[in-house]
């Protein structure tokens, strides 16, 4: 369960977050849609406890990440907007590192490692160094390290960027599987089809505010459009920042 309430944040004179509130429930995939610069990444960074908001709270399973970020972060797995692997470590070492950062040790760590490696079907690359991995393989390793401590919540910031069709489909299956397990999944994206196909709930963000909330279906009906893309444009009032 993820929740942000009445976030306000300025960068100099620019109002990045303007009383932004939304929530993502367990057992659902929630999408954040918004043009570039709408405040998606800023909102997520506040939720991680990386940035301080001037007002409002970011709750992860009820723990305020603004007050106790380290405690709150234990309950999330993060797929960041820019990610880099440690090229000189093997995939297994990389995932083990993050397991260790979340406090797993000894047998529990080994078991968690083996589970996540078999679940994501990366046993064949697990003991290879990350240099030379394809984008799809990298994506799987990042997902594996985000899930190794079995967090209740998974946050993905534009996860499909740079992925080919096959990798995107794999990612989609992983997310649907996690949803079946009752996890809470929040992801931001520019890609309308993906959001339409996956999300139970869509939050449209523009100018640091929530422009609309609902299922993809509801958003289309509310704006009288047949495609989510058209609905999105109608909601934010421009076609800026949309990827096909």
């Amino acid at each position: 369960m993820l929740q942000v309430n009445n976030l306000v944040k300025h960068f100099g004179d620019v109002k990045a977050l303007d009383d932004l509130s939304f929530s993502a429930e367990d057992g659902q995939i929630t999408g954040i849609l918004g043009p570039n610069g709408a405040g998606k990444t800023t909102a997520l960074r506040v939720l991680y406890g990386l940035l301080k908001a001037e007002q409002g709270t970011g709750l992860i399973n009820g723990v305020d990440s603004q007050i106790s970020p380290q405690l709150a972060r234990k309950e999330i797995g993060i797929f960041p907007d820019k990610f880099g692997l440690y090229e000189r470590l093997t995939a297994r070492e990389q995932i083990a590192y993050f397991a260790g950062l979340h406090g797993l040790t000894g047998e529990a760590k080994d078991k968690a490692l083996n589970d996540v490696i078999s679940k994501l079907d990366i046993a064949d690359i697990a003991d290879r160094r990350c240099e030379g991995f394809s984008q799809g393989q990298r994506m799987k390793v990042i997902i594996a390290q985000a899930l190794v401590h079995q967090p209740q919540n998974l946050i993905l910031d534009e996860p499909t960027r740079g992925l080919d069709v096959m990798s995107t489909r794999i990612l989609r299956d992983i997310l649907l599987d996690l949803k079946q397990q009752g996890k809470c999944i929040l992801f931001s994206s520019h890609v309308m089809q993906e959001v339409a196909a996956l999300c139970d709930k869509v939050i449209v963000v523009a100018n640091g505010k929530v422009a609309a909330v609902g299922t993809p279906q509801e958003l289309c009906e509310r704006t009288g459009k047949t495609e989510l893309e058209e609905a999105f444009v109608a909601l934010i009032g421009s076609d800026e920042g949309i990827a096909a």
Binding site: F11, R45, Q70, I78, G84, Y86, L89, L101, G103
Partner: protein
């Protein structure tokens, strides 16, 4: 937690060929530089160059010619032009000195009359006096031997000739002669600590930022203090490895360098090596914190390299200058880098009175390093850094 962080940092660095080579370079640098410097100094002080002069009428005094040859003063014909001439395919310089034995030299010597040698040279030529002195020295010593033998033959003690004996004593002790060079060795071992850890420092800060893995790391449930501590420990570890190897290599190399030829005496024993090494441990921590503080400000590896190449001047150039002018001051013993320079310099020169300043300097260095680590940890929490990721 620190163990997890440190293990990963160490694994990451030890697999980085550049980091490992840099550490080895740092380790090998001091003994190699020292050996090169020593070789140069030894050549200067021990080798006597051949002096080429023109000797006319050699047959008149074969003994003197032989003695001159033993003193590496050799005959060569005066070159027609300039002062250089060919000898066995090499170009050598002629001193432009000519000595001529008069035609009746041998006969006059035989009869015990005063024989004449004419010495012809241009005294305005640079170094001419030294060259003439060498030639005269040989002839004079031949003469005094000859006179002594003549006196003995007439039943007179040759000691009558010298009423006063000048005893020459060189007050420059072997240790003080070598002090500057050995002091430089100390500075170079200190430099090794920095050189060995620079690459690791850049790689795990600016490098990690450049490769986009730093952001994800600080989003994890770890404090930035833990992250910075682990990185500093790893960086310092490489510095210490570099320092250890360079102390060991120096200890191994010194007995092979013929220091006594240059009138030097220096005993790099186990106790000295150990004391220097112990001084270098806090320095390695400081070097790590100092370089990380610089590199964390950079967004890319290259940017960090260009920053560090300037900031690292301070810990290299300043101790070197202090060493050259042999500046000593109480206060310096309580400033990181200088504390180590002063201590190592005094240790090597054998001037150390008490171990207190060493201990105090080390404590100050460790405290300063911890303060820098705290500052870096705080800066990683700042919005400017987060947004720059």
């Amino acid at each position: 937690m620190i163990k997890t962080l440190f293990t990963k940092e160490f694994l990451d660095s030890i697999r980085d060929k550049r980091s490992v080579f840099a550490a080895l370079l740092g380790a090998f640098l001091p003994p190699i530089m020292f050996a090169v410097m020593m070789t140069f100094v030894l050549e200067e002080s021990t080798s006597v160059d051949e002096l080429y002069i023109t000797i006319e009428n050699q047959q008149q005094a074969p003994h003197i010619v032989e003695l001159l040859e033993q003193g590496k003063i050799l005959h060569a014909d005066m070159p027609e032009k300039g002062k250089d001439f060919e000898l066995d395919g090499e170009t050598v310089e002629h001193s432009k000195i000519t000595i001529t034995f008069e035609d009746s030299f041998a006969e006059k010597m035989h009869r015990g009359e005063k024989a004449t040698i004419t010495l012809l040279t241009d005294y305005s030529k640079k170094g001419a006096r030294d060259e003439v002195w060498r030639v005269k020295n040989v002839i004079n010593s031949y003469q005094s031997q000859l006179v002594a033998m003549k006196l003995v033959a007439r039943g007179v003690s040759p000691s009558l000739l010298s009423a006063i004996h000048i005893e020459e004593n060189d007050t420059s002790t072997p240790s003080s002669k070598s002090a500057l060079l050995l002091g430089m060795l100390g500075v170079m071992i200190m430099v090794a600590v920095f050189v060995s850890s620079t690459n690791v420092a850049i790689d795990c800060s600016a490098g990690e930022r450049e490769r986009n893995s730093l952001e994800l790391l600080i989003m994890q449930p770890v404090s930035t203090m833990q992250v910075v501590l682990a990185k500093t420990m790893n960086t310092a570890f490489f510095g210490i490895v570099g320092a250890t190897l360079s102390v060991v290599f120096t200890a191994i190399a010194i007995p092979f360098i013929p220091l006594h030829k240059a009138g030097m005496a220096f005993n790099f024993d186990f106790q000295l090596g150990m004391t220097i090494w112990l001084l270098l441990v806090p320095l390695a921590l400081f070097a790590a914190a100092f370089q990380l503080a610089t590199a964390f400000h950079a967004k890319s590896f290259k940017e960090a390299q260009s920053y560090i190449q300037y900031t690292v001047m301070v810990p290299i150039i300043v101790p070197m200058m202090l060493e050259i002018v042999n500046y000593k001051n109480e206060v310096l013993s309580y400033i990181p880098i200088f504390a180590q320079q002063q201590a190592i310099s005094q240790l090597i020169r054998g001037e150390l009175d008490s171990y207190m300043p060493l201990l105090a300097g080390s404590v100050v260095t460790v405290i300063t390093s911890l303060v820098i680590i705290k500052v870096i940890a705080n800066s990683l929490k700042s919005e400017k850094v987060v947004l720059g990721l």
